[in-house]
């Protein structure tokens, strides 16, 4: 039991656990829509775009959450509008918009080399840097995203299933996409501190695809993915503490392990089902 409670004597760990549970829930929940829309690459791209925004807000001395959040939201809207209004495909639009945004960050860092080290946490995640203010912000973001998904459930489900048909049935799909982009940008900002820009995409996608392997029900997928995000983040936090490895990396490695195990279970179930239905003539 000491192993479980010992780290809690440190404030950074208590803050870290709270944030990681919230971020796990957020990423697990948003990841379901990302995976089902076939947009796995957007988490990766947008987190890089937000990195550019984070550097700009630092240089301009703006509030990090507001500045980087707005930057990420605008990048997401720009990607959506590029895809809707041109013949450019989603992956190409993500590639251009987010890489250009990331390049702005890198250019600013190389121009002002003296603050290069401050962005290690944003790139790779650092649980030591989580403050009470961070916990409050992440809690607020989690609440807002949950409320958006709760009250937009039907519209999001229909738009994710078939955007063109949803439009025919009166769903304002452009608004749904814009709201979703806002929620995604907020999720990425909230997750940046603990997971780092380079690892957020995995934390968004892995719980959702693991849940998809285990269920054919949309509601169950949401619940499983959210719980898996929380539990794997918690396990990753403990592992990070005891083996002294960056929190983002341990969380993603725990999630990848759970995904690997689920894959094995899923294969075994399918083989067993095939053996049961196979008949010899």
């Amino acid at each position: 039991m000491d192993i479980l409670f010992e780290p809690f004597q440190f404030e950074f760990f208590r803050n870290g656990v709270m944030v990681s549970l919230l971020v796990g829930a957020l990423c697990g929940l948003m990841g379901v829509y990302i995976v089902l829309r076939g947009m796995s690459y957007i988490g990766h791209g947008l987190s890089h775009a937000i990195f550019g925004g984070a550097v700009v807000t630092y240089v301009m001395a703006w509030n990090f959450y507001l500045g980087a959040g707005l930057w990420g939201f605008l990048a997401a809207v720009l990607i959506n509008q590029t895809v809707r209004r041109t013949r450019i495909s989603a992956d190409a639009a993500i590639g251009v918009v987010t890489t250009a945004s990331f390049a702005i960050g890198v250019a600013l860092i190389s121009r002002y080399r003296h603050f290069t080290r401050s962005f290690d946490a944003a790139l790779f995640g650092n649980i030591l840097g989580v403050t009470v203010e961070d916990v409050q912000v992440v809690a607020l973001v989690t609440l807002v995203v949950i409320l958006i998904i709760f009250f937009m459930y039907k519209q999001l489900l229909f738009t994710t299933f078939n955007v063109e048909v949803a439009q025919v049935y009166g769903v304002k799909t452009e608004w749904v996409d814009t709201l979703f982009s806002l929620a995604l940008a907020a999720t990425l900002i909230a997750s940046m501190q603990i997971l780092g820009v380079t690892l957020i995409a995995a934390a968004l996608v892995i719980p959702a695809i693991t849940a998809r392997l285990l269920t054919d029900s949309f509601n169950r997928m949401i619940i499983l993915s959210t719980l898996m995000g929380m539990l794997t983040n918690l396990a990753g936090m403990y592992l990070s503490y005891y083996i002294d490895v960056a929190s983002g990396a341990t969380i993603v490695l725990v999630q990848a392990t759970v995904f690997g195990l689920s894959l094995v279970v899923s294969f075994a179930q399918k083989r067993a089902a095939r053996r049961l239905t196979h008949t010899h003539i």
Binding site: F161, R212, S217, M221
Partner: protein, 255 residues
């Protein structure tokens, strides 16, 4: 070059009509204009005497081509049909009692009540088509629009779906569908519209499916046969017939 030009169509309440024409004739474009997902560069569209304005969804039920559906999406039959009730005032992310009853009634009407909890992938082609018909009908639309409802279905299932559509039409539903299956349209539909960038002709199949109108629509030599009172349409083969080139059939062999 415009996709459609000088198209003037009037669909009456209770009509059951098929849009036919070659690929690229503008059938899907016309459907999208009626559905409100595309805006005409010129002209106006009215549904029940009301002008269809930019971004406004008409009271139209839509059944897309089965090929456009993501069959791996984690959704049950019941949930897929529930999506058709998106216009209801229910803000909660679950079906209320009334919605559940309406879904059940609609599934019973289409003969798939026992499949409510099944995943949409685990159904036959005919059952899958019925699910999306149920979704379209549950909102009680003024018009039901179907994009190639029989494509990809075997001949018996396709026949079953057309009989079902005719039955829905008898119950008062106005239907407009696109199809490439001229023989099925001739056998089942009371009204056909030949389209190739403009309306070439419209009317009852026996009046419209003539060799001259079909040849103009399809820009190729078309042949029409009547056998036992049924109409059969075939494109005249170009050059030699395959059977002329291979006079002796090659027998198959079961190892």
């Amino acid at each position: 070059m415009p996709v459609l030009e000088n198209v003037s169509l009037h669909l009456h309440r209770g009509q059951f009509a098929a849009l036919v024409g070659p690929s690229g004739a503008g059938k899907t474009t016309l459907l999208k204009l009626i559905l409100g997902t595309l805006q005409p560069t010129h002209g106006e569209i009215y549904t029940h005497g009301k002008l269809l304005q930019n971004g406004q969804a008409p009271r139209v039920g839509y059944v897309p081509q089965l090929e456009t559906v993501d069959w791996n999406f984690p959704v049950t039959v019941e949930q897929a049909v529930w999506m058709g009730q998106i216009g209801n005032k229910n803000i909660w992310p679950w079906m209320n009692v009334q919605e559940r009853q309406q879904v059940q009634v609609m599934l019973e009407r289409l003969g798939i009540a026992g499949l409510a909890k099944r995943h949409i992938r685990d159904l036959s082609g005919g059952q899958q088509q019925r699910v999306f018909l149920a979704r379209a009908l549950i909102s009680n639309p003024d018009l039901l629009v179907l994009d190639e409802p029989t494509v990809g279905l075997d001949i018996q299932t396709a026949e079953m779906i057309l009989v079902l559509l005719a039955e829905l039409n008898r119950q008062g539903v106005t239907l407009l569908m696109t199809t490439h299956d001229l023989n099925a349209a001739a056998a089942h539909l009371p009204w056909v519209i030949c389209l190739n960038q403009k309306v070439v002709a419209q009317g009852a199949p026996e009046d419209v499916f003539t060799e001259s109108i079909l040849s103009e629509t399809y820009q190729g030599k078309m042949m029409v046969f009547i056998h036992n009172g049924m109409m059969f349409i075939q494109q005249k083969p170009h050059g030699h017939h395959y059977r002329d080139l291979v006079p002796e059939p090659v027998p198959g062999e079961i190892p």
